[in-house]
Symmetry: C2
């Protein structure tokens, strides 16, 4: 063990294992995770070894990713993982843990993450009973094919068509649909595993019914390949979309359909159907059912939020451990070198990210709980208001956007904070970063989501302004904004109450400031749109467009408010449940303070602009940040130990638990195929030709 | 030509070619660049074709990079490029242009970028006359070997040793040095081409003279490989350091030396020497010579600044063109889709970056001019004060740090702003980004440089405060800060004079605000350090460390001041010289205003904190940003056309000049080796085994 890391760990003021339990859920879950991780790490086939990942050509990396997936399923079947949920391993907690333990992208994962849940959500019972067993047994390997070459999130614009053909017109028994990609831009593009792995796709297409009427987009199960020998079916053209900045193990694919006929009953028919005469009908969906479907979508976002916390925590673990080991510059005595972790600027780069990873964890967990509670209420047929659902929708949209943005930028900041060695693949950070980069874009582009947030929150502003219907928001997240909204809308000045720097660092003072900031920005958005329409005479559409920048700011402000509030409450809960004691609660609260102060410093203008914080109070912010950097400093290594990422999972020469950095950098370097022969592979013929003068000579007459 | 792009170009209000000439230098340089680019693009060997780059394994990519370099040299010799500077193509303007035209990383480039200049700077005339012809003829291929596995920018800590051995002790005629890597961490690590390409290295090592005295670090030319057959010499172990986040064409390398003996005269002896008795002496370097050496280092930074502008401009070109072509969401009429470029939020993401690329260009050019002027003064033996040199040092450090930060973050923001397709390698943005990522770290880590900036500027603060020696700063960049510094230090309130939003957008008003902000932050740093020492009783070292975060802020503020000022002056110069007319000056000024307003909005707290901007003035900032986004909107495409990046150079399916995006995305996709066979390469044996049930079955008793 590196002596610096050892000392850091000895100096920690809290019990690391107790925070590990918080992050896992409880003590038993920590145990179980460790067991499942050991199954993967010690698998006798050795297929899960990640040491050679960076040296493989993409094709080989993909092949290995498939092999890992197959072995993973084999292991799960042996261990009975998934048995508890009737083979739908998707829903197995153990399965989620063991897949994560693989610490690499598995192309097959989209089958259980997107394809199976889609069948469950959108297909009727008969369809589910036909298809789910095939999914379970991997006869059917599916992907979810929505986006097209020319069309991303604007699904109304999708061009793929599914046209009803009756029995009379050659549609076979009960009628069929013919799937077509009428244009170049209508080709399905991006769906994971569509390229090379899946033999079925749930294709989102414009339904044209028996009367030739366009019925909007619906889902159609289209077989792509033979289930016997994986050859392409007639009319289907598919392939991989080529290399990407990250996630290259995955075969994201394209597909073009030319008169591909599928049985009529391959349309997902839970919520709409077409009968054998081509007649379209929407099924009357109960209010509760439609809300449950909506909640399912939001659950994906809560998973992304928790994922952001984890990815950021991994990057912090690498950078903080390495910064404790790494030395640069000389100490006071001019002889011993300083630990990089002791530079306040390095602390300022990393510790707020460490704090963010914890705050995002508490918030992601809270979001998941809120969604679960709503779902259970609905299933128990208890009343759930539209406002409750849209409030969680606003929170999940804001948090997805903000947390993936912090995580993506933060991982890269951690990478840069490792200096030159952060550039090495063997640091683990490049792949962590580039593969994470999909998250800000998928499941609602981070720059589109704020509109969804603000659309909901403006209704609350309206309700407060007109004192109309506020009670509908009582049990919602955003209701907490009401006190500030009232003050602002009534033209009364809210002001920060801090009388000195210590006072400013009080969590309730900080939370109040973020509440006010968020409320004020919402009022600014509302006013801007209103003024634009009434004073500048622009259309609501144009006014909306003009307000997008302020909306993004407000959505971020809402996220920050939620993050701070949920952390405060999450820490209190854990302490009440006895999972953590005072020392752990203390360090987690310090992290929350640092997080809030850091963002206050960063966005100081927002707090000063309307005088909520006065200039004399503003002067306390930067020094308080500095103070809490110093507070976190002594626990920094222990705090990145707490998530208990094994070396196998971190895959980082810099972030090793034992701190034995340099031999592992060298070991990784020497493995590069460029080093397999000497002289290197580029010597012959070109370099040799150059040295021998075969590439011409210098011809100047002078010299 | 895509109709949207055509319309955009027709709507431009200025003459694109005139701004192209500004960016190239003048009309003739534009012509020459176009000619040299055509030489590369039409080269009959086809080696410069970049279409397959993303599909190659790293080893093949490196091989191809070497082949490109050799062909480039061959072409230059044929065209006589480099003849004008006696074969030192390094110094040939044409050579710089034609290398850039290759639009790919060439490992051999470090030979002329770092190795040859190092010989010129640090070796005496006899050494130069022996080695430079070998460099010119590529018998000697060199690299610059400074950093070590355990030691980056802190060169005092380097561990490699060069120990003098006299003739008597077996050092041969005239004595020798023995080069050793005494520890694992002392291995040279990172030097470009050290791994596989170079046959010589300029090794930075701790000199131990004939009396066993450590004389600090010096440069030693060490032969690594045979110049005949490229085999390694005894005692040398070298190899590539493995894959990286970017720049993978380059063989960054490691090297360990075990008793490698080199002739005594292989020590670079321009400024210090060891005689055959092992006696060390420093040569008395003239003040002017030492300043020239210093300026050479700063010139590298000015090149990096100009490079930041170019890389960012390329990313903007891709994103702005694609955002003009790409449509999403429906227009007012609910039918036609909107150009993504019309969303204010998209504009807010990209246009300030476009503006930054121009402001950085003007500033990089000014910096290069300042350095050239200083150099010429020194060569002409005119007096140059220490303050003049250190002022340019501060400016180059601040600008290197800030411009590479904006460029790295900005390229990634551009990539994200392309939505999903920005994730594709064929968009060109991933490689542009990941390869650019070295810039924030090399040649002074961006987070270390602010200290160098502030060290210089605090002296100015001191001079103003004590009204002592201010005249020494008269001709320096930072002298412009003096009026604000005086006001602040005399306790007088400077305040923004804007009486309305229009007034705020005046360039002189904006410049004054950025001047004040910078001056104020410098005073804050000075005060913080002083208070820490006098009131908190900490050591100067600790006080310095505590101030690092504020220093970073101040250094950024200094950069922003310089960027705005140099843009204003640069535009005025171009107009005066008649290279541009009123319309071009207008659009460039609008860009500068947007740049300033955007950063004022982002850092608003800095301007509000001391009341320089009052809350009522602060309210004008965000709407003014919005106003200038709209102003730039109509010229956005023309402004990214102006740098005249050919499709060959942009290498982007999304950023094509003709806007013919989608067919080129598909063309690139289909080329992936994963698509070479069907079923794909991962089908056998694992996927087949899974589908056939060979990986076990689901065993639950229920269902």
């Amino acid at each position: 063990m590196n002596p610096e890391l050892k000392r850091e760990r000895n100096n920690a003021t809290f019990d690391v294992e107790r925070i590990t339990n918080v992050l896992d859920g409880d003590k038993d879950k920590t145990e179980r995770r460790r067991f499942l991780e050991s199954v993967i790490e010690r698998d006798p086939t050795g297929i899960f070894n990640n040491d050679d990942n960076h040296y493989l050509h993409r094709t080989d990396r993909h092949k290995r990713g498939i092999a890992k997936g197959v072995r993973l399923i084999e292991i799960c079947r042996k261990l009975g993982i998934g048995d508890e949920c009737e083979g739908r391993i998707t829903e197995s907690k153990d399965f989620q843990v063991i897949s994560e333990a693989v610490a690499d992208d598995i192309p097959l994962a989209l089958h259980w993450i997107m394809f199976q849940p889609n069948i469950v959500s959108l297909c009727d019972e008969e369809q589910q009973s036909r298809w789910l067993p095939l999914c379970r047994d991997w006869k059917m390997i599916g992907c979810y094919a929505q986006t097209e070459l020319g069309h991303g999130s604007n699904i109304r614009a999708l061009e793929t068509t599914a046209t009803f053909v009756s029995e009379l017109n050659g549609g076979g028994d009960g009628g069929s649909f013919v799937i077509n990609s009428p244009t170049l831009t209508s080709g399905k593009f991006w769906p994971g595993t569509l390229g090379r792995t899946a033999n079925h796709a749930m294709v989102i297409a414009q339904l044209i019914d028996g009367d030739g009427i366009h019925r909007g987009i619906h889902n159609f199960l289209v077989q792509l390949r033979s289930m016997e020998d994986h050859t392409l079916l007639p009319g289907v053209k598919t392939g991989d979309i080529g290399p990407k900045i990250g996630y290259n193990t995955m075969d994201n694919g394209f597909a073009y359909f030319k008169n591909v006929m599928i049985p009529r009953r391959n349309m997902a028919m839970r919520f709409a159907s077409v009968d054998k005469n081509g007649r379209y009908s929407k099924k009357v969906m109960s209010d509760a059912a439609s809300k449950v479907a909506y909640i399912t979508m939001m659950q994906v976002r809560s998973i992304i939020v928790v994922g952001a916390s984890k990815a950021l925590a991994m990057a912090c673990a690498v950078t903080i451990r390495y910064s404790a080991v790494r030395k640069q510059g000389f100490d006071e005595d001019g002889k011993s070198e300083m630990q990089v972790l002791d530079y306040t600027q390095q602390q300022h780069r990393i510790f707020p990210l460490l704090a963010a990873s914890y705050c995002i964890f508490f918030t992601g967990r809270q979001l998941a709980k809120d969604l679960k509670a709503l779902e259970e209420k609905l299933i128990a047929a208890k009343p759930v208001t539209k406002e409750e659902v849209s409030d969680v929708h606003a929170a999940s949209s804001a948090l997805k956007s903000f947390s993936t943005m912090i995580a993506a930028d933060g991982i890269e900041e951690c990478r840069k904070a490792c200096g030159g060695h952060g550039f090495l693949s063997s640091s683990g950070l490049p792949e962590l970063f580039t593969t994470y980069l999909q998250s800000p874009t998928v499941e609602g582009d981070n720059h589109m989501l704020p509109q969804q947030v603000i659309r909901v929150l403006l209704k609350l502003v309206h309700a407060v302004q007109h004192d109309d219907g506020m009670e509908k928001y009582k049990s919602s997240n955003s209701f907490a904004l009401v006190p500030s909204l009232k003050m602002i809308l009534r033209g009364k000045a809210e002001q920060c109450s801090a009388i000195n720097a210590n006072d400013l660092c009080d969590l309730s003072t900080l939370l109040a400031a973020f509440r006010h900031r968020c409320a004020r920005l919402l009022v600014v958005v509302a006013k801007q749109i209103n003024d634009d329409i009434t004073t500048n005479n622009v259309s609501p559409k144009v006014a909306w467009n003009n307000a997008l920048v302020t909306m993004a700011k407000s959505s971020k402000a809402f996220s920050l408010f939620l993050l701070i509030r949920n952390s405060i409450e999450g820490i209190r809960d854990e302490q009440r449940k006895g999972i953590i004691g005072r020392p752990e609660a203390q360090v987690l609260s310090d992290l929350t303070k640092l997080f809030a102060l850091y963002w206050m410093e960063k966005d100081l203008g927002d707090f000063l602009e309307d005088g909520y914080i006065r200039p004399n109070q503003a002067k306390w912010v930067a020094p308080s940040v500095l103070k809490y950097l110093a507070v976190i400093r002594k626990n920094a290594v222990a705090l990145v130990d707490a998530p208990d990422f094994s070396d196998f999972r971190l895959k980082s020469a810099l972030g090793r638990y034992d701190g034995n950095v340099y031999p592992h950098i060298m070991k990784a370097a020497e493995k590069d195929p460029l080093n397999a022969v000497d002289p290197g592979p580029a010597y012959e013929p070109e370099l040799k030709r150059l040295i021998a003068g075969g590439a011409g000579i210098y011809t100047a007459s002078r010299l």
